[in-house]
Subunit: 547 residues, 2 copies
């Protein structure tokens, strides 16, 4: 498929947007009218610039509030269209997006809408231009893609077709199966956007929170399947309105958009089966080694500590201790690396190693089986704080490159602000991505799964544990009648409909701390309800300086 | 009235919150349970700390999911309550907030709710504690304050009353007049919060966007009137969940909360009648003087330039040129200053001068009448960029101290991010507050009202005007058939249901530029639709360095 993207999807001036879009490898662009209006480049200059960059101009957009207007407004609307058609000739664009009318003056008549769109298409034909009519999710009378198609069908003009937008269809919960009933040659254009599920006004949701396919929770991939089965052969074009993307680096955003389209064309990835290891870079490994020994880990070579299937590597490096690499068990490390390369991930030296968006190294490893050797059995999850403007990029990376499924976002209050937290998981492989502007808290942690946290906690030296306030334990006593001494052992507790969660935290070393967790039954979460207490204590203790 | 505030309303640890709340002069606090759970201070220590700070502990909150539960859950709920009552005794709190149940297990029976709340109140009575039952806006069966009151009335226990929360009542559009039918002595507590009008899920709206009374668009003042007429004599307590306040300085937030309560107790302010002058601080006034002369201003003394009622003062000061002071015509400058002082505004040396939250000096002046002397008649509005974490504080200041009414917020896309813009106005007095994280654009401007912008524009040297892209003028031609040469004159245009708006911009000097505007008919806006084009050009031109 040809790839395209609306200029509104990335930040910068029109010239900067075009440069970034071409550099990311798109075949074409949609020119968003406001970007052109604010540009000193004339339409003819834009045409030349795009051609020089190897970009086709696939669409000019949007043309608003046209169809089904009272007769006295039609002439002014056609006059406005005529101006735009002349502009499009200079621009070298031959497809105009017409959004369904939102004006209070619009009349709820499909016949009138079809008649006026036919007039528009006839005028467009004189310029060699075609019209793609799209149902906005908040259109006054037309808000359903099948309704828009019925009007196009009724108008019956060769220069009039429909435009399908995944956000407008999926945000309203319309079933995209109906796309397959539309003749492919009457689908003039397809725009793709994903979005998180948000309970808010659909217009605000659309204007601020759209994201690239794979970054949100809409089934864009399924919709593309319907579009292809309908026989559509035009470009797949990204159209994203996102407050963060507007502020971010245009080149990085455009590349991430391209990555989202590549991912749509790939088969489902090979799912990882476990967290093989976590590697910490640390100037002096003695203090961390002491902590690991106290947790029951055994040193198996100069750098490696093991317990069950939990492996921690302490690599000597300057700077404060931080999580540098994560091993992912994959049934096919070669295929995983090839997929990552196809998705333009940065491939690192060494075997099957790539870089995550925040620089953390990800290494694909063959699965191993390991006998149990203590109460700690494996790595339950790894939590990483992301730069706030890379959160969507990270979600796409973990999903499309690593085959982890995004879970809903959670908010965690810290004394000095909010953290937003989103788990990405596939069976036993769990990564938690956090963003926050709060300073002074550890930004990474490794959670170790334990088969008997009470026994493990009894054996731990108290000075290695984060001290939890007595008030927290009083509250646990008010809510539950727990059969273990959570207060003396420093164990925190949560419960959901599926099971129970016991956990405790170590002190922080550098940027990193460890969590010990025990899942009882089918508990699905991460103890987020207890995170505010943990964060408050971590603030008050400050980081432990390594020596 | 006694003043109180929930600890959740400000940032920091519990100890930091108490200190900030006391310093701002509150009489008491509501202890938010999560703040206590995360604190190393025991309830008894919190009691002593609050007493040392002169704060009463007016409420402990929240106690959730209690009433109308199946019988088998009642015992556990009473056990949980018993723990909390014992805690409250240590804390020295004798009022517990019970929110209406949100649990799926809750039963929709008022009789059962009343019966279980009566049990709770009986248990509370043994500890000398009272229960304030509140309808959450998203309660499962009880979401209306009058419904909560009916249940309290039905339960008929002296230790059970109701809690009224302005957000829960006004966000759902319930008429607060019904408050007057509740006996004042059965209103055990009143919580106040304002909010902007947002079309979103009410729970998310409540948890992230509440603000202090006067900062949003809810009629909190009206609600307080009903509460007082009902005979309520307890504290008025602020309870605000706000993402920005969590991150902001606790002392500043608490002071602003206190200011919002003081404002509720004051009579309506004297409304200003005009913008008397704008004063620019500038190292070398020659370049700005040249610009003002070109705009038709006449120099009337060493620092003062005038045209009609528009007066610009150029005060010599180091640093890049910036707007330093604004004169507001007031029918009673003495009363305005007294009110500002009462509201804890910073009073500056000099006559009737105070500081706005961003440091801009505001001077109250007696009104004057001035004969017309050119096409520029007066200052139409002044636009100021606010630090993002002071936006709500600024809104409260401009409303409560200066008597300007907040208008809805608008979003303006810039090539490198979004600006949020909110006008505050009273008749001819208009101030526009912007926030943005975008760098490299001028942050202040003075808009001069003009009675014939076409004639004025003809007389202006083109090199003093911001150059607007031809594409913008092409679009105006497509949309309108304007009877003046907007392209040659560099005039931008907008239209609403009430009238028309013609405007143009000068080049930027330091942080400041001028806008010339002509309002035709009853146009209410500020040409926001054209601001993205202006911003794009200002980015490309960069600031003009003053000489």
């Amino acid at each position: 498929m040809r790839t395209s993207i609306a200029t509104v999807s990335v930040g910068g001036t029109l010239a900067e947007k075009l440069t970034a879009i071409a550099a990311a490898g798109f075949d074409g662009v949609e020119i968003f009218e406001n970007d052109l209006l604010a540009s000193p480049m004339s339409p003819a200059e834009v045409r030349v610039r795009a051609a020089d960059l190897g970009l086709s101009i696939d669409l000019y957009q949007p043309f608003r509030d046209f169809e089904a207007m009272p007769a006295d407004l039609l002439a002014a609307n056609l006059r406005r269209a005529d101006h735009k058609f002349r502009l499009m000739r200079q621009l070298g664009a031959d497809l105009l997006l017409v959004c369904s009318n939102v004006s209070p003056a619009a009349i709820g008549s499909d016949e009138l809408a079809a008649e006026q769109l036919r007039s528009l298409a006839s005028l467009a034909a004189e310029y060699g231009i075609r019209i793609a009519y799209e149902a906005l999710a908040w259109g006054r009378h037309v808000d359903d893609y099948l309704h828009a198609w019925r009007i196009v069908h009724l108008a019956d003009h060769p220069n009039l077709g429909t435009c399908l937008d995944s956000f407008h269809i999926l945000s309203r919960g319309f079933d995209p199966i109906g796309i397959e009933a539309i003749p492919g040659e009457k689908i003039f254009f397809v725009q793709l956007a994903d979005a998180p599920i948000l309970a808010m006004d659909v217009l605000q949701w659309s204007r601020h929170y759209r994201c690239f396919p794979g970054q949100g929770m809409l089934d864009v991939r399924g919709l593309v399947g319907h579009v292809l089965r309908a026989g559509y052969s035009g470009p797949l074009s990204l159209e994203v309105f996102n407050d963060v993307f507007r502020q971010a680096d245009a080149g990085r955003t455009a590349l991430d958009g391209m990555r989202s389209l590549i991912a749509l064309g790939l088969p489902e990835p090979v799912v990882p089966t476990g967290l093989a290891f976590a590697e910490l870079a640390v100037a002096d490994p003695a203090r961390l080694g002491e902590l690991l020994a106290a947790l029951g880990f055994v040193r198996t070579d100069a750098q490696r500590w093991e317990q069950g299937a939990a492996r921690i590597v302490l690599r000597t490096a300057s700077g404060e201790p931080e999580l540098a690499a994560i091993g992912l068990e994959s049934p096919d490390p070669d295929a995983a690396l090839t997929r990552a390369r196809t998705l333009r991930a940065t491939v690192l030296p060494g075997e099957h190693a790539i870089a995550a968006p925040d620089g953390t190294q990800i290494v694909f490893c063959p699965p191993t089986t390991v006998p149990r050797s203590g109460h700690i059995t494996h790595i339950d999850h790894v939590a990483l704080t992301q730069p706030w403007h890379h959160f969507d990029e990270a979600a796409l990376f973990y999903r499309s490159v690593l085959a982890l499924c995004p879970q809903p976002s959670l908010e965690v209050p810290d004394p000095y602000g909010l953290l937003r937290s989103r788990a990405m998981s596939a069976g036993p492989v769990r990564m938690v991505l956090n963003i926050t502007q709060v300073q002074g808290i550890p930004t990474q942690h490794i959670a170790l799964a334990c088969d008997d946290l009470v026994a493990t906690a009894r054996a731990l030296p108290p000075d290695l544990l984060l001290e939890i306030p007595a008030n927290y334990h009083d509250d646990l006593d008010a809510r539950y009648d727990l059969p273990f001494d959570h207060r003396a052992l420093g164990i925190m507790y949560d419960r959901d409909d599926h099971g129970e969660f016991l956990h405790l935290y170590t002190i922080t070393i550098g940027r990193v701390f460890f969590e010990l967790v025990q899942r009882v039954g089918g508990y699905q979460g991460y103890g987020a309800v207890n995170a505010p207490v943990r964060l408050a204590v971590q603030h008050s203790r400050g980081p432990m300086t390594p020596q």
